[in-house]
Subunit: 371 residues, 2 copies
């Protein structure tokens, strides 16, 4: 399906949702939501009317005229880049009737909420958890054919990079954390990635105990004796892959071997459960229980959806409330990990696509033993 049809269709579903819920006007501020509905990559507010009309307010008008698939574009600067002014003036220009319902995003700050209430006193202003963005988030959770195709391209590039970086760390041509991170970025950009999916985390043995090592990478050695963690992804056309490799160089002590064993076991168990109809909560809980039997606990979630955001729904956590039932089209990471101040860290992460009959693993990270 061409982008020319895709974006209007997605907007149509969003405005249908507004009408179903009795909302006359709503707006979106999250870059990922706006990109999903218009193709505009960042820095815009998108207004949607139940009538089907939509207006984009970009910060960078030139970029919007070139990129966004939408008819009405008004520079955000026309409203002094002030959201309260923009909402009020757009409601006025559209001749929205007094008493109409305007829904504002659930993450609206309390102080801004008060200003909006004031400025929009002729309207009914709603701020609730179940907002338009939450509807779009549920839509975005299940990828459509165009999105799956893009994510496959991101994952294919990622896999090629996994092979190259593994070879470089093994043969010693990539010696430091920075070597690895810079090799990945330079190669991904040269091959057409939009950018890295996020700041590459390359943590050698001295630093791999950090959940997300800080700084993300340094001039320190990588792949030297002990446990090194490499967590990276590439962004293609807005969509991000996310994988983690662990390099185990030289003999491991008992605690390190146990951590490796448990992480690989947890990964296999979680992968085996990643099928349509299974609840994310059940998978996370099974992994937590596996780790707990040996006295370990994982200081982060088991996985998360990937797409226009690096962390998006579905979230695989032990917290039951945020859980969902897996369904075909969902794409997410599984990334069990264990960390120890002296032993270091072990994490294994790949990207999974739920299919009608089970799942497909889109990337091929693994734990790599080096002599």
């Amino acid at each position: 399906m061409s982008a020319g049809v895709l974006y209007p269709q997605r907007r149509q579903r969003a405005t249908d949702d507004l009408r179903d819920r009795g909302v006359d006007l709503a707006y979106l501020t999250a870059d990922a939501d706006v990109r999903y509905l218009t193709g505009m990559p960042y820095g815009s507010v998108l207004f949607l009317f139940a009538s089907g009309r939509s207006i984009l307010l970009p910060w960078d008008e030139l970029l919007a005229r070139k990129t966004a698939q939408i008819d009405e574009i008004l520079p955000y600067t026309d409203f002094g880049r002030d959201l309260v002014t923009a909402v009020t003036e757009i409601a006025g220009k559209a001749n929205l009737k007094a008493g109409s319902t305007i829904e504002i995003p659930s993450d609206t700050g309390h102080l801004r909420y008060a200003k909006l209430k004031d400025s929009l006193e002729d309207y009914r202003v709603l701020c609730r958890a179940e907002d338009l963005s939450s509807f779009i988030s549920r839509r975005r959770m299940v990828k459509d054919a165009a999105e799956i195709a893009v994510l496959r391209r991101a994952c294919a590039m990622t896999d090629q990079l996994i092979g190259e970086v593994t070879a470089g760390v093994t043969d010693g041509s990539l010696r430091t954390e920075a070597d690895v991170a810079v090799y990945l970025e330079g190669t991904a950009l040269a091959r057409g990635a939009e950018k890295m999916g996020f700041e590459t985390i390359a943590a050698g043995p001295e630093r791999s105990y950090g959940i997300h090592a800080h700084p993300a990478c340094t001039a320190a050695k990588f792949g030297t004796p002990g446990l090194s963690i490499l967590d990276f992804g590439v962004n293609r056309e807005g969509y991000t892959s996310d994988v983690t490799l662990t390099f185990a160089r030289g003999p491991m002590n008992d605690r390190q071997e146990l951590m490796i064993l448990l992480v690989e076991k947890a990964y296999e168990m979680a992968a085996a459960m990643a099928n349509p109809g299974t609840g994310t909560h059940a998978i996370s809980t099974a992994v937590d229980e596996l780790f707990a039997r040996d006295g370990f606990s994982m200081p982060h979630g088991l996985g998360h959806g990937i797409g226009l955001e690096i962390h998006e729904a579905p979230f695989l956590k032990s917290n039951r409330e945020t859980g969902v039932i897996l369904e075909p089209g969902m794409i997410f990471t599984l990334e069990p990990g264990l960390y120890d101040r002296t032993a270091g860290g072990v994490r294994l992460e790949n990207d999974f696509l739920i299919t009608e009959s089970g799942h497909e693993v889109l990337t091929t990270s693994r734990l790599i033993r080096l002599p």
Copy 2:
């Protein structure tokens, strides 16, 4: 002054402010505020009592135990990483008297505000624009000796990189946007930068019309005939420099020459005005008027403070309300720029330190003509 004294002193001023304003307990969630007061780089909530007590709730406890200069550390996971739970339990554990005043950040979401009000019903809950973070932001606007020293190191590294990248673009060894970005990152990390200050923007002649080109860099040619923009910074110990170079290769047409002339003129004028006692609004307005006389307008602010955030106070904008009077210790960018869909973009940006007698320019970006 050693870090061992610095952080407690900064916290002392913050808790003094709470006492002055009749607040018994407040908390900070912004990474930059927390790092300023404890040294902990990210992912934490910091609770401060008027009594002088302070408690850090980190996501990564191991990192906090290693990095943060604070006595009381409680893992955020002890509170299910839920802010409402954390505030309520910490107020309870500290035996905060009923009727005490708890100030919550001004950017608290409306829905969370409602939950906090509910959960903290025994206390007086305040959410106002003039919150603890705004007090710290004003403190952070004027750098102390330790901060000036770190920013000088960031700017010195930046200057060295400016020289090298200019040579590489001039002699053709750095040919693409990605070449330039990857050279900068690899070299900065190898020399001990914590990371790049932000995503390097390298935009060749085809893309330099974008205020912030999207994607930030690609495999496209850089420094070829026309106007290329390079906007980058390095982060040292949390503090970020920010500079922009423009490369003008080959003969420029009349419009390009006019844009270059105006940007250089605006830069010189703004620099001449950057002295203690001058209002940021006056400088911004002077530049806007200069551009307007030739029918141009600048689609972004004239400059911004740099420090633990890449954009922080003071903000140099035409909007009078956010303006401040410059004073010694402030460090900020001046970055006049003009953009045209066909001519491309011109931006020149350096980092300025206000001194007792005037200013010091910490970096040496310029417009570079290439044959």
